[in-house]
Each structure stands twice: as structure tokens, then as C-alpha cells.
Symmetry: C2
Subunit: 526 residues, 2 copies
Amino acid sequence: MPEILGHNFIAGQRSAAGQQRLQSLDASTGQALPFSFAQATDSEVDQAARAAAAAFAEFRQLPGTRRAEFLDAIADELDELDDRFVAIVCQETALPAARIQGERARTSGQMRLFAQVLRRGDYLGARIDQAQPQRQPLPRVDLRQMRIGVGPVAVFGASNFPLAFSTAGGDTAAALAAGCPVVFKAHSGHMATADLVGCAIVRAAGRTGMPEGVFNMVFGAGVGEGLVKHPAIQAVGFTGSLKGGDALCRMAAERPQPIPVFAEMSSINPVIVLPAALTQRGEAIARELAGSVCLGAGQFCTNPGLVIGLKSPGFSQLLSEVGQQLQQQAAQTLLNTGGLRSYEEGLTHLHAHPGIEHLAGQVQTGTQAHAQLFKADAHLLVASDPVLQEEVFGPTTVAVEVADDAQLRAALLGLRGQLTATLIGEPEDLEAYAWLVPLLEEKVGRILINGYPTGVEVCDAMVHGGPYPATSDARGTSVGTLAIDRFLRPVCYQNYPQALLPLALQDANPLRLRRLVNGQWSDAPL
Amino acid sequence: MPEILGHNFIAGQRSAAGQQRLQSLDASTGQALPFSFAQATDSEVDQAARAAAAAFAEFRQLPGTRRAEFLDAIADELDELDDRFVAIVCQETALPAARIQGERARTSGQMRLFAQVLRRGDYLGARIDQAQPQRQPLPRVDLRQMRIGVGPVAVFGASNFPLAFSTAGGDTAAALAAGCPVVFKAHSGHMATADLVGCAIVRAAGRTGMPEGVFNMVFGAGVGEGLVKHPAIQAVGFTGSLKGGDALCRMAAERPQPIPVFAEMSSINPVIVLPAALTQRGEAIARELAGSVCLGAGQFCTNPGLVIGLKSPGFSQLLSEVGQQLQQQAAQTLLNTGGLRSYEEGLTHLHAHPGIEHLAGQVQTGTQAHAQLFKADAHLLVASDPVLQEEVFGPTTVAVEVADDAQLRAALLGLRGQLTATLIGEPEDLEAYAWLVPLLEEKVGRILINGYPTGVEVCDAMVHGGPYPATSDARGTSVGTLAIDRFLRPVCYQNYPQALLPLALQDANPLRLRRLVNGQWSDAPL
């Protein structure tokens, strides 16, 4: 393992021009770790953005297969990071080693999946409309379309996934796959991790002959603003709080040239438990639900923060059992002290609300998070009460008991946009409540049946997105291969000679793509 | 032809609740036409948005083939509008009848093309990742993805295309195809036209059994703000000025729930004339270029507002010939008096600039627009001087003579985002200047070789878009079938029983779609 230098990454070089140094903390003890990091100066932020811009033309024009080699090489480098690496990530995040090992496999797997997308080539969206010189009243010229990267992308690492949503995480993978160089803003919660992963990416870039500015990383509080406002940056990826995401969106919208921000922010992920399921397997549901609420100390974006059921002895029983499970749950260390403070604040709001009752959970004190169960009046949901809509990032959930189907419908209509919604039901439930599906489709990015939202598979079909405030743009996803679409834009070539056309659009179809040719899909040469 | 009632369109009914009436003007004489229009009240705007929201669930869930019937019916209704309709459009816009007939055919053809997209079904983006219960270390659940409409869309009509970019224009067609009900804000420049086209859409909706709120239209100054800020509206389509588009983007970003705005705004569409082409066919280029500058009185978004060449006797000769053509051009009536004022203002800025020289064109006076040719110092382009970057909407163009290839490159790098860029060159030019293509790709949505940007074909491969300020989001197009993507978002279905899945995602593949199944494209049932 290389030394943790703590310098910024600019065009393959390390840079520590400023005086200010930052410390990384042990998440369990709060003690400073023996590494220091150079707060990036304004000039370093500028250089990093310029390095990305300088790399863009070469990088985006590489064949997709060459960028695939780069992503595969990053994956290999990540897999080769040793146990000392895992130990440092654990120190910085208080996450168990098994979780980190799993998250590393997810992160390298994600890179390899995007490499497959590049080799498949459909991300190019190749379309050809051939000339029709005889068409009346006017001839048609030859028109061809494909997608290219939007330009350098600024990516903000997430606190809760030091690997999968950070330096070499999903946003970075999607941007690099799209041909967009990245400037990564390291999260203050895991800077040593970021340094080691950054080195892995730089080694992969060197091994595969990528342009030097393809990956850059800056450390420091407040450096994000300079990045988002930098004229070279053309899009932003972010995973974090609603407040943080909203602020980035505002900055991006107020630039002389506005740019898109893809922020994954806040979701309470309602779980609706239907009557027959309650009757037939209430106990199992209580156990599974409590497990999902506490998974990763409740610090998943898809943590079930709202459990909805129809008023019945079965639902009361479920809440009683979930409450027991959460009450018995050992306290968990959160990712950092900021996270603990936010959790305590969220609980205070819930406790203070006259329409919300505390059902179970030990008094929240000390340096660890205690799991909690609350119950809120259904009218709060119908009226879109903000306290109920706010994500409390940690092992807590709020139950809502609705009187009947009409109130269930009203409560769901009162929900803001969500990453997920879940139906727990037996076949007869799902038949009787089929009307819930179209309603939920309009509220969320992913609907689950008889599962728990906390697992987010990295695959082609995943949507980790949804209407605001779950994300800033419901048309994107930050997990799964569709994430590449956020960083691509179409370009049309009119009346081009074959030799000047990109390979993807040449008559001979040298990339063997399936293309939309004169309104029909075809993988044949023209 | 039905009477021109001038009332707002709300859920298939007509409404004129307010007192204020608006007049439509004869664009040639400035006289009021014998129709009056009811300025929509705040309550009518609200009702229109609510009507669209009420129609959304039913409309978006119709099979694509049913929505295709609706679009085809709109096309038929448009084609059946008689000569009196054409005469009224001509009165309101001062455009010649042949142009209106052509534009009507374009508009109905556009509807039919989107109907084909719906029947093809690929807009759904169906993806399936089947369960892998045996996978280690964790099983994979069944995940399926398709796209649905984002919700009700507000569309703002353009002044310059009373049909193709207005009531039943490209944004409306794309939104309806996506399953999004529309609230259309009629442009003040052609309200009688809008009324007649609105009636045609409502007839088509009735004939094909669409929900009543699928199309709504409001008249009036200032009603757009209420629409964009209405919580039911989920996206905005706009074609117009940079100032107008920027204002809508700001409003949309400042909503409690921000929404995307697709604004097509400002482009000067550089045409680069290369040396061998100048030598071999300078005269023909001069004639074609002057024709493109004056086409439609210069009121196309793709009007070539900038002609760039390398300093040479050939380029001087070209400018002299273009100047003669423009000098001789008869004055043209613009779409409305506001357009004439803007044109005069734009010319005043050009005349007043010390770095810009007036080469040809009659003194701009009277009620019609005189074609003009200016020449600007290349340094203005290199320095991104705002006067040179501003679109002057009318028959004028600015020539820039660059000293050498290095200055050509610097000048192009100084350009803001554009809808189009054009290279005029012989084969040897295109070989020598192949380096221009990647540079232009990063600046524009469409690159033309040996053509003129004013023709915008409606087809699968067209991109009528480009980086800001050409549009507010380079990832979209407002012409061509890819325009539907702006109004779609992905939804993921996890662990769904077959019966509850949308048809597009069922194992049996009843819609016979080509789907991405476990990472491979397939049109087979599973």
C-alpha cells in the first residue's frame, strides 16, 4: 500500500500548494488519524477543473473499448487493495470489515459493468436517416446521430458509502464511461480512503494510457462551490443531504452557463404492509423490517423511514413486535459525529411533534445511535407535514396507521418524491390493492413487492432515483447502467462524408452496433 | 371551419371567466383582427393545470398504440383545416401561404412520426434483470425497468413557427407521445391560429376517447408564470428568446419542487467557409448563403448569423457578393412589431460597436426588415464579445475574417453553445480541417457539411439542441423523435408478480419489444 500523501490530485500529479491541513478522524473514537490532507487552494481547484477540460477531447474520442480497459483496470486496482486498506476504511467510517469488503466488490463490479456497457455500444444511441434525394416536395439530406460526453463532471462523494458512492463510485464510473473526465471532491469523513482509491485510479489511468487529467481529486471544506461554479465543469453528481443538494442545484442554475446537477438527496421509503400478509406472516415481517431499519446503522438512502398499515389488531401487533426488536437492538456507531448530531436532531423533532408518539427505543444518549420507533397520526401524512417527510438518517422509522383505503390513498398522495416504495402483501392483497401501483409509480423511482428497499442491486434495470426531493432530476438514476445517460448528449451529423463520420455512424458499421436506420432497428451495414 | 371563440381550453370545455379581452393583430398592417381572446384568470390557469393532472394517470397508462391513434387523429384534423385556416395564419404572421401549407404538413407529419415511435415501443426503454436465487454471496432479485411520462407539461408556443413549434408543435407532440397531458400557453402573435389548432386537437381527443384534460390551452400575457409555478406541472417546453427562457428556468429552479425546463433559445449558427470551396464555388456559396440568411425573413433559430473565413481574396470576394445579394433583397415583413423592434435594436448594437463594420444593406427604416451584412474583428470572437454572440432575429449576418488556422481555432473556442455549425468545403478542405470537427462537436447540437442550417428535418436522427445558450439543457432536442426522452423517466419494478407488471415487462413479451435482458438485447419471450 502506498503512503497516504494527502495531496490533491491534479492531472496525475500530487499538489499541496496551500498551508491549511485537514485531519481525518477515527469514527469510533473521534481521535485524529495519523494522516493529514492539503486543503485545496482556489488555484488548485481551478487547475483540477482545467486538467479535466484539457483531457476531455482526447478521452471522449477514445473508442469505448479503450475506456472499458480503463474501467476494468480501476476494478482490478480496487480488488488488489490489501487488508491495510480495509482497516483504514473501517477506522474512518466505523463500518465493519465485511461490509467494506462487500462494498469494494460492489464498487469494482460496478466499474466492470460499465465496461460491458461500453463494449455493447448501445449507450451511443446511434441513429441514421439516409438521404432521400428524390423525396417531394423537398429532398431529405443524410442525418446521423450519436451521443457524446457532456464535458468534465464534478462528483461529490457520499458520507455513507466510502467506496461505492465515493471516489471510484457510481457517479465517477458513469462519468468516465460517458467519456467525461472527473474532478472528485473527497468527503471529509473518509479522506484517507479517498487518497488510496485516488491512487488506484491514477495507476489504472497510467497502465491503460489515459490522458493525465482524466481523474482529479481535491480535498477540503468549501472547495465544492468553486468546482460547481467553474466554467469547465459541465455537470455535477452528488449524493448527500437535501440541503446540500439544493444548494448545489442553486449554484449550478445561477452560473452564467447553467449546468445540470444530479443530486440524490432525501427519501423516507414508505413500506406498506397489507392485511393478509399481516395475518399470515406478521412476525416474520416485523423481524425483517427491523433488520432493514437497522441495516448499516440505518444509514442507507433507502432505509425504510415510514411503515404504513391499515388499522387492525394485526398492524398493532406488528408495531409491537417491531418495537421490541428495535428496543433490544444494540446501539450502533454512526459514520461520524456530524451524522450523530443530525440523528439526534431528527429524533428531537419527532419527539416534540404533538401528532407523533414514541413507541419504542432506548433514550438517545452517548456516542452511539439507539434504534427508535414512532407512530404518527395519518392526517400528518395527508397534509404533507414536513416533519414526517424529512429523512432521519439513522436506525429509526415512523409508523402510520390509516383508517381505511381512502385514507391510505390520501396519505400516499401526500407523500413527496421517493427513491422507493414497498408493498408487503399476499397474492390476494396484491390483487385487491393493485390500484396502489399506478399511484406509487408517480411518486417513486423503484417499487418493490415483498422485499426491503435497503438492497440496491447494481444492474441494467436498477433505478436509484425518483421525483424531487429524492433526487434533483427524476429522469436519472445514480445506480445501475442507465446512470451513464446523465452525462451524455446527442450530436447530429448532417451530410457527412463517410471518412469524417465517427465509426459508430459509418455505413459499414465497423462497431457492429444495433442502430435505428430509417426508422428500423438494424445491425447490418448499409 | 368553426367559429373562433377565443376562450381558454380546459378539460375539453371552453372557459372565459375573466373580463379582460385580447386582440390578435394583422402582422402586415398592425390592424386588429375581428377576433377576441379571453385572458386566462389565475383560477383558469389553475384549472387547466389541474385538468392535466387529473388526466395524467389514465393517459400515461394507455397502451402506446392508443396514444398513437390520438396523434394520428390530430394529424388528420390538421390536414383537414381548410384554406380559410391558412388565410388566418397568414394574416397573423405575414408568412406566405405556401410556407404555412408546408409548415402544416411538417406539423402533421411530426405527429405521425411520434405515432410510429409509440408503435415501435423502444421509447419505453424496457430492461429486465432476472432473479439469480443461487448467486453468491447474495442472491439477485428480479428487477425490471421501463420509462413513464414525467407528468403534466407546460408548453410555450414560439412566435416564428405558428404551427410546427406551437399549439400542436414538436413539444406538444413529444409530451403527448410520452403520456404527458399538456397545458399550452398560446403565443400572443397567433392566437386565432392557436384557437383553431386547439379545436382540432380537442376533436381528435374526442374521436379517439382520450381523457378530457389531455390538452388544455390558456391565452394571455403573464399567464406563463402561474403555469410554470403550478405544482401539477412537471416539465416545461419553450421556444423563444434567451431572456424569456432564462426567466422560465429561474422560476422552475426556485419552485418548492424544482422541475426541468427545455428551452430552445439563442443561436448564431456559425458557417465556416473553407479555402478550396471559396476558390471553386465562391459565387454559388454567396448566393446560397444570402438565401439562407433571408429565408423566412431571417426568423429561423438556425439562421446563419456568423460567417467565418480565412483572410484571402476569395473570402473578400465572397463577402462582396453576399453583400450585393443582401443589398438587393426586397424588404420583408417580420412576424410582428415586437420582432421588428428587436431587429432594429440588434442592428443598432452592431452599428454602434467600434470593432464592427457595416458592409451592405439598406438603411433600416419603415415597417419591414432590410437585410444586412456586417464584418467584425476576429478578436471580438476570440474574446467572446457579447455583441457578437447575441442572436439578431432577422435577415442579417456578421462576417469574421480570421488571419490563420490558429486564430480560427481561437475564434471557435470563443463561441458559446450553438444549435448548429456548418463547414463549407471541398474534399481537400475537409481533410485539412478535420480538426475542426471535434472542436465543433463540443459547441453545437448539429454539424452540417456543405449545407445550410435553416432546414431542420423532422426525423429520428435530428438534434435541434445544443449547449447553453442554444438551449437550457444540451441533453435534449426539440425536433425529431429523441425529443420524447425529455418527458420520460425510468421506473424500476422489483420482485413483481407477472400479472402486476406492465405489459412491456412481462415475461411473455406481449408487445414484442426488443428488451435488454440480463445484459443482452432480445425480442424473445423469457
